[in-house]
Amino acid sequence: MSEPKSESGAEILIRALKDQGVEVIFGYPGGAVLPIYDALFNQNAIRHILVRQEGGAVHAAEGYARSTGKVGVVLVTSGPGATNAVTGLVDALMDSIPVICLTGQVPTHLIGNDAFQEADTTGITRPATKHNYLVRRSEDLARVVHEAFHVARTGRPGPVVIDLPKDILIAPAPYTEPSLATQARYNPRTEPDPGQIAKAVALLKSAHRPVIYSGGGVINAGPEASVLLNELVRLTGFPCTSTLMGLGAYPAKDPLFLGMLGMHGTYEANLAMHGCDVLLNIGARFDDRVTGRLNAFCPNAKKIHADIDPSSINKNVPVDVPIVGDAAAVLRALLAAWKADTQKPHTQAIAEWWRQIDIWRGKECLRFTQSMEKGAVIKPQYAIQRLYEISQEMNAKSGKETYITTEVGQHQMWAAQHFHFMKPNRWMTSGGLGTMGYGLPAAMGVQIAHPDALVIDIAGEASILMNIQEMGTLAQYRLPVKVFILNNEYMGMVRQWQELLHGGRYSESYSAALPDFVKLADSFHASGLRATSVDQLDDVIREMLTIDRAVIADIAVDQKENCYPMIPSGAAHNEMILGPEHETAEQSSRTAGVTDAGLALV
């Protein structure tokens, strides 16, 4: 496919990116990638966003990818540039986010010589990526880029690294059109087996106590999958719960939705899981945060598991009906087969099941008590609730869409519980890896993709410091991201585990010597706001949402608040602890009763 005009490897790379539809790259320059920066300088089609640390670039690309369904692209230099990107790559791997990470490399003749800023990037990132490449020959470059995009977005999406030696970037390279780059060697199955669909529908029709458990795979399968999930839930009238990653695929306010399940899931969702007789898992992976103790997980259920990744099926939980396929394709097939099947569902039994679920719901497991007295301390749950209500109210007028990212900790779980997502792709959080420092750069990536939207990073005071440098990026590109810090002056989630499992010995979990977040915002050309008591909260939220540039809102919240419900590690769904609002003698004794095996779990 040689072209008459000779182009450098770097120019060929840019051309391949354009042909792959790339509009934005998140990156940071260095010696090994200077030829790429030179090629970027001479064109306008691709915008480069200069982050402040490479780790931020990968999370930004993740935020971009998750909120758009497109592939996020990262460009970093060799050695430290590449090693800084590793956490983000593993994050994207665990959460199935399509990301291409271009890494510079020392010239081919120096590879293996411990050259300046050489790192064995393909070696380091092999278990951190879905796939990776080291481009050793100019003639492979364009083909590799096209294949990398195909791999990143096809099947179960994930991060792909392309390591680019500097001599390959400088030397002339031939171009290969995307259509001519063969993709024969990676073609995962997307259409489900009709026989398995028939078995699944027969099981679903036989159910007396069904539950639909949906996950991030439904989001990854595109907005159509969410529409189909809605249709299936409404058609069957089955209760629906969701993983942390799947929130928004089914509207949170719908009466058929039980809320999130798992370690900090709702009472009704977890007890429905424990009591169900048929479980339909679509695009979730039976993660240990969801299942709790495996030998007590859904003990009476026949299980159907639909996943695009065959290795996710029968990995943790043996299932009765495995279905390999894309979530949208599976849902479409299930809907068609359900409608075609003449068997009547057990309407009466299901109505009985709903009565039971409504009793569990009656517990109001997420209830909390907020004193409204002047000067009263803010409950973190209340802060999220007000953030949700006020942003809904203001956006109803302005027509803005809201996107939420989070850091990792209690605030993340409270956000999942108290901010209600009605659409897919509006919720970006680090689920599988649980990476503190994810939220701010991810919000940056979301705001780049949706310049007119309201983008909020719900943060903890400890997590936010892990990528605080990205405030500089917000300033440079005038990105009006709102950072809403639930400041409990503790690594709250660590403090909670220490309280419940380690006798209240708060070893190294206090956030000492915190910066003044208001001044910090100021020094990064953003606005800083603070609320220290409940009477100030609404005003601060309103002001934050009115300001059209970046804001840090430092919300001082109750330092002792714990996140409930909680299934302690190693416990079963029906051994959930409810909060002090629901405390009974029996429950507090359970708190102390975590087994040794449970203590060893993360």
Binding site: T122, R126, H131, N132, R185, P188, I313, K315
Partner: protein
């Protein structure tokens, strides 16, 4: 119900057809070490120069669920074309080759040669104080021969690990 997880282990011989490209062996080995799977034996060699394909033969032990996981995990590697569980898919033959050095004189030396003959091992190197035997066969045959050589002056063993193929007309 399905909560009763199968605990019995089995040995599986798995053939994996891959692109012959740098890093592929590291990818496969890294998968096994990273996920805590056993490798009892692993061999790799190019088998199709025109298509640049190599074949990896892996012998592993695990519960049925783990073996199915291994196959699924291998299958999702991009340079992997095919994964065949030879143990499951019908009768197969597995062979390995060993070179066995015995350093001995006198009665032991004579005895080692006599046993080698019984096992149809070939002498491929000899000095007045040593033999190197070459023996090809199933793993347990090699094990048995090596055990017999131990008291006779076994000095060193080099084994290839197994290569395996399905019997009859079936191909992977």
């Amino acid at each position: 119900m399905s909560a009763q997880i199968e605990k019995t282990e089995r040995t599986a011989t798995i053939a994996v057809l891959v692109d012959n490209e740098p890093g592929i062996l590291a990818r496969v080995v890294g998968l096994f070490s990273g996920r805590g799977y056993n490798i009892d034996s692993l061999t790799v060699a190019a088998v199709d120069a025109a298509q640049m394909r190599s074949r990896i033969n892996i012998v592993t032990t695990g519960t049925e669920m783990v073996i199915e996981q291994i196959k699924a995990q291998l299958s999702r590697l991009v340079p992997v074309y095919q994964v065949s569980d030879l143990t499951r898919e019908g009768p197969h033959i597995a062979r390995e080759m060993a070179m066995i050095k015995v350093v001995a004189t006198g009665e032991s030396r004579v005895e080692s040669l006599r046993l080698a003959d019984a096992f149809r091992a070939r002498v491929i190197d000899a000095t007045t104080g040593s033999f190197v035997f070459e023996l090809t066969g199933a793993t347990d045959k090699l094990d048995a021969f090596i055990e017999l050589m131990r008291p006779l002056g076994l000095a060193e063993v080099s084994r290839t690990g197994i290569a395996a193929i399905a019997r009859g007309t079936r191909t992977i």
